[in-house]
């Protein structure tokens, strides 16, 4: 087991000043709260410890050696007996490296609850989701997880986790700064831009105060909750978990059953060639039994029950971008060989030829006849969305229903029964040269 990189050693200097120093206590953390910002590599750590002070001058050491803690962000404040505790000085003891020592005057003899907070990099989190579609693909269960990865150099035991989703303007600025700095990395970028860093820390500290006020107001902490703070959101993961240095931990964030989904299949030669691609679509809203909070970016794995006794089959995997409340999400889950679309050119003619005075062709019209064969080999109903792209001045004639997506694309939507095979045809007339009217 590794030695914790941060150590706190409380020493008391009893009067008279020349007396030997006594080690009063070496307390562990009472609690630790990690607020992890997704947009930049930055985490606010707040730890509380119960220290035993003696009346008079006390010394407290804090080391950040071999961690990614930013020492400029370290703060000490008493949570109890605050009016009797005063930080007189900070010095840097030469015997140890990257350690600071607070000299604290206490009018109180006894236990004091203190908070030490600082920013560190090296802790990241990401979301991932598992979709379990029912056999008929009409509804699904959705389970969300968060994965916290700790490479900060420090173990955090029984930590409470807050995860911040979304962006704030300042974070974007700092992010750009880090990217401009390239290989030198975030730490150096921040150090070189002290002013911006200070603004960032200040903004995050203010945000943190607001978070605390919400929590103090009695917001339930045992499940993922949403805090809406101007432009970004805060999740608090229920319970406490130990996140050792060098480890990643996957924690459940929410679980919802009976989410209505629409399963459909898309065919578009220009995007996927001859493949038919499966989609699940649902909405992040209350009627869909979701909508409690925006869903952060993350990977999605989708499964489908294939038998009544809950035998699963893997449907596909994809990733989603940040999904605000009330927004619809489409999961592109890869191709499905059980649904087939086969367009075939059956006839092609050139007509309405026009010539200029020299006998050169100046206008003509082509007529193509296409037959599209579609087949559903699955045992469930499917909806097929076939998109065909055209260019120039074109007209489509068909008995099949379609709608124009835009000036160059038409969409045919076909519901197919299990094991059903259909054919439809369309005639495409395209006017070229002087025949074109648009």
């Amino acid at each position: 087991m590794r030695t914790p990189a941060i150590f706190i050693l409380l020493l008391a200097l009893t009067a008279p000043a020349l007396a030997r120093v006594n080690v009063v206590t070496l307390p562990g953390r009472d609690s630790v709260l990690l607020t992890i910002y997704n947009s930049v590599d930055l985490t606010l750590v707040k730890e509380t410890r119960t220290l035993t002070f003696r009346r008079g001058l006390n010394r407290l050491e804090f080391s950040w050696a071999n961690t990614l803690i930013d020492p400029t962000s370290v703060e000490f404040r008493p949570l109890t007996h605050a009016d009797e505790i005063e930080v007189l000085d900070v010095s840097f003891p030469p015997r140890v490296t990257n350690t600071l020592e607070w000299r604290i005057n206490s009018e109180h003899a006894g236990e004091v609850l203190v908070e030490i907070r600082y920013f560190t990099s090296g802790i990241a989190w990401s979301a991932d989701y598992v979709v379990e579609a029912a056999k008929n693909e009409k509804e699904a269960g959705l389970v969300g997880y968060v994965r916290v990865q700790n490479n900060s150099g420090e173990d955090y035991e029984k930590a409470q986790l807050r995860l911040v989703v979304g962006v704030i303007r300042l974070v974007e600025q700092i992010g750009q700064l880090a990217r401009r700095s390239g290989a030198r990395g975030m730490t150096e970028a921040l150090k070189e831009q002290n002013e911006k860093r200070d603004q960032l820390y200040s903004a995050y500290r203010e945000a943190d105060l607001l978070f605390d006020k919400k929590v103090m107001a009695g917001v339930e902490l045992k499940q993922m909750i949403k805090e809406n703070l101007s432009e970004y959101y805060l999740y608090t993961v229920g319970g406490r978990d130990t996140v050792p240095n060098g480890w990643a931990k996957r924690l459940p964030s929410f679980s919802t059953n009976g989410v209505p989904i629409t399963s459909y299949y898309k065919y578009e030669k220009e995007r996927w060639g001859d493949r038919v691609v499966r989609y699940y679509r649902f909405k992040n809203d209350k009627p869909s039994k979701l909508g409690n909070e925006p869903l952060p970016d993350g990977d999605v794995k989708a499964f489908r029950h294939v038998t009544d006794d809950a035998l699963y089959s893997f449907v596909g995997r994809t990733s989603v971008k940040y999904i605000p409340v009330d927004e619809q999400v489409e999961l592109e889950l890869g191709d499905d060989l059980e649904v087939m679309v086969k367009p075939k050119l059956m006839n092609w003619v050139k007509t309405d030829m026009r010539f200029d005075a020299r006998g050169n062709v100046k206008g003509w019209t082509t007529k193509e006849t296409w037959e599209v064969e579609v087949q559903n080999s699955k045992e469930i109903d499917v909806v097929l969305d076939i998109r065909r792209s055209f260019s120039g001045d074109w007209t489509l004639r068909t008995s099949a229903g379609y709608e124009n997506v835009d000036a160059t694309k038409a969409k045919f939507v076909l519901p197919l029964k299990p094991r059903e095979k259909q054919r439809f045809t369309y005639e495409l007339e395209t006017r070229h040269g002087t025949n074109a009217t648009r």
Binding site: N66, F92, N194, D198
Partner: protein, 197 residues
Amino acid sequence: MNSKLVMEPMPRANILVLLLFAVGLLTGCGPKRVPPTAADPLQRYAAAKALFERASREFHIPSAQARGPERTKLEDLAAALYADVARNYADQPIWASQALRSLGHLHAARTNINEAIKVYAQVAEKFPQQDFEVLMAWKSAGDLLSDADRPAEAKLYYEKLLARFDKPDALPIVQSVVRGAKARLNGELLLSSRDRQ
């Protein structure tokens, strides 16, 4: 396929080359570790960081627990690596400035006060943009001189520190350091180095 091991007398020239190589190794003239070139900043950043962390993790921190010759040996090894980083990675100010300050700490811990002060002063001279390193180096220099009953020299460092860092919007940790420097200047907080052992 069968292979055959053949032993032949070594040519005289090869023996000479080997002898020269062995002598070179024994006299410390062997191949030297060459720092990555300036053309590769990513590698140089990583190399400087690795060296600094090695000095800190393997030698400097353990030296605080060691006693006698073992402590001296660890401090020597840490000092050599810190000096290497400060000298050969000046283009990596994050690590070079920390290395220089840490070297100052090593001198201070050995009560080489003049040498420590000299090195602390170099932090601001060589890496003036590294605000927090400069702050720590000046505070360390002031405290060291103050504890050594050299108040006039300590005053110079505290005054420099206040001139640069005493700002109302400074970070909380900076404000605490500034408060301490002011207290020291005013004759408060006069704790001698004996209290720190």
